[in-house]
Symmetry: C2
């Protein structure tokens, strides 16, 4: 037996996909919709939360709920964001010292001098991704790490979790929205970690794409 919120979400989803509700359109207010579906407002809000997680609607506090423009998805392609028109990047640089899990990630002792680059990308006025890139300060920092010669391997770990309140406000998303959290570690041929990065992408508008090119014969490297 499907729950009420799923039934309502299914109905609204159909209206959006069929074009009955057009991209950019504002939905009726939550009390009005709740009355239409004969449910309480929390139940209606649960239904909208499902659509929000799917990236079909956008909730804007004080303004209303809006149908998202379809397929405006940000694609993270193994190592970098795909270039896109209308994409603005804000970078803030901070010097700090390794501590705790950051030291483990970079394989450096505690208190090693690091440089943190905080990237915040916007598409138009909409924030789209948040990245913290850490580089040991003794390594040449101004270049793009992935263009540096001697780079041997990049490991990327993808997980999903709910946005922290800080991320939610920086990315202007709900703190109940899941995000893709990517931890990227690049090392050179000597095994030294050249760069570590933590990326946060809103789950309702982001994909991560990884492409593996296979060589002719795959050796049986065990795991």
């Amino acid at each position: 037996m499907p729950s009420l919120r799923h039934t309502i979400a299914d109905d609204l989803r159909t209206q959006i996909i069929t074009g009955h509700l057009k991209a950019g359109a504002r939905l009726p207010s939550e009390p009005v919709l709740a009355a239409q579906y004969k449910v309480s407002t929390p139940t209606l809000r649960n239904a909208l939360a499902l659509l929000q997680a799917e990236g079909l609607i956008e909730k804007i506090h004080g303004k209303g709920n809006f149908v998202r423009h379809p397929l405006r998805r940000l694609t993270y392609t193994g190592g970098r964001l795909t270039p896109d028109t209308d994409l603005h990047v804000t970078i803030r640089t901070t010097n700090l010292r390794a501590r705790g899990d950051l030291g483990v990630l970079l394989k450096v002792p505690s208190c090693t001098p690091l440089t943190e680059f905080l990237y915040l990308t916007h598409q138009g006025v909409t924030p789209h991704s948040l990245a913290r890139v850490y580089v040991p300060r003794d390594l040449a920092p101004p270049e793009l790490p992935w263009a540096r010669p001697g780079l041997a391997e990049t490991q990327e770990t993808v997980t999903t979790r709910l946005a922290t309140p800080e991320e939610a406000s920086a990315l202007r998303i709900s703190s109940t929205l899941a995000v893709l959290a990517i931890t990227r570690v690049s090392s050179d041929t000597a095994g030294r970690v050249v760069e570590a990065a933590r990326l946060v992408l809103p789950g309702d508008r982001a994909n991560a794409l990884f492409i593996t090119h296979h060589t002719t014969v795959e050796r049986g490297t065990e795991g």
Copy 2:
């Protein structure tokens, strides 16, 4: 100003991490906890939902809320699940025909005969991942696709979304829990799609790991 649910989640999280609440222990019932924190039961449940999304607790209907054993995380490593002791796999084979997005994914015309492999992996009694693998029936199906010679490229797209009700019951997770959804497409040197797979991993207990080996010089392949 932090919300009540975050404050409560922070407190419980601290108790779990410090070992004040031990792995496997059952938390007090939700009405009891709500009374302790002097909040309503929905608010307390919202706090627990945060911890559930982090993988710190497990909610079992009719039994209670339990502290999860730490770091029992399933890691999907670009192309396959890491072998693990105590891992059982159930496979169901179905013959069907391509339609809609499945045809697009496999780059075959509609109604092309396909074989679907439904994988359900368990760790002990706990379901851990759900995968649907599609192979065109005219290609040799019994082998493991990633061991087949002539395989040229694997593209994997990672997104996050909420579990569908069907996935939730198959994986025995809450339908409010985010999952990692991975679409994997493998093609051979001729550009034909050898295999397409849709994988679903519970977000509270799964990582996806991708390793890129860089060659000496990276050509400027544009995106």
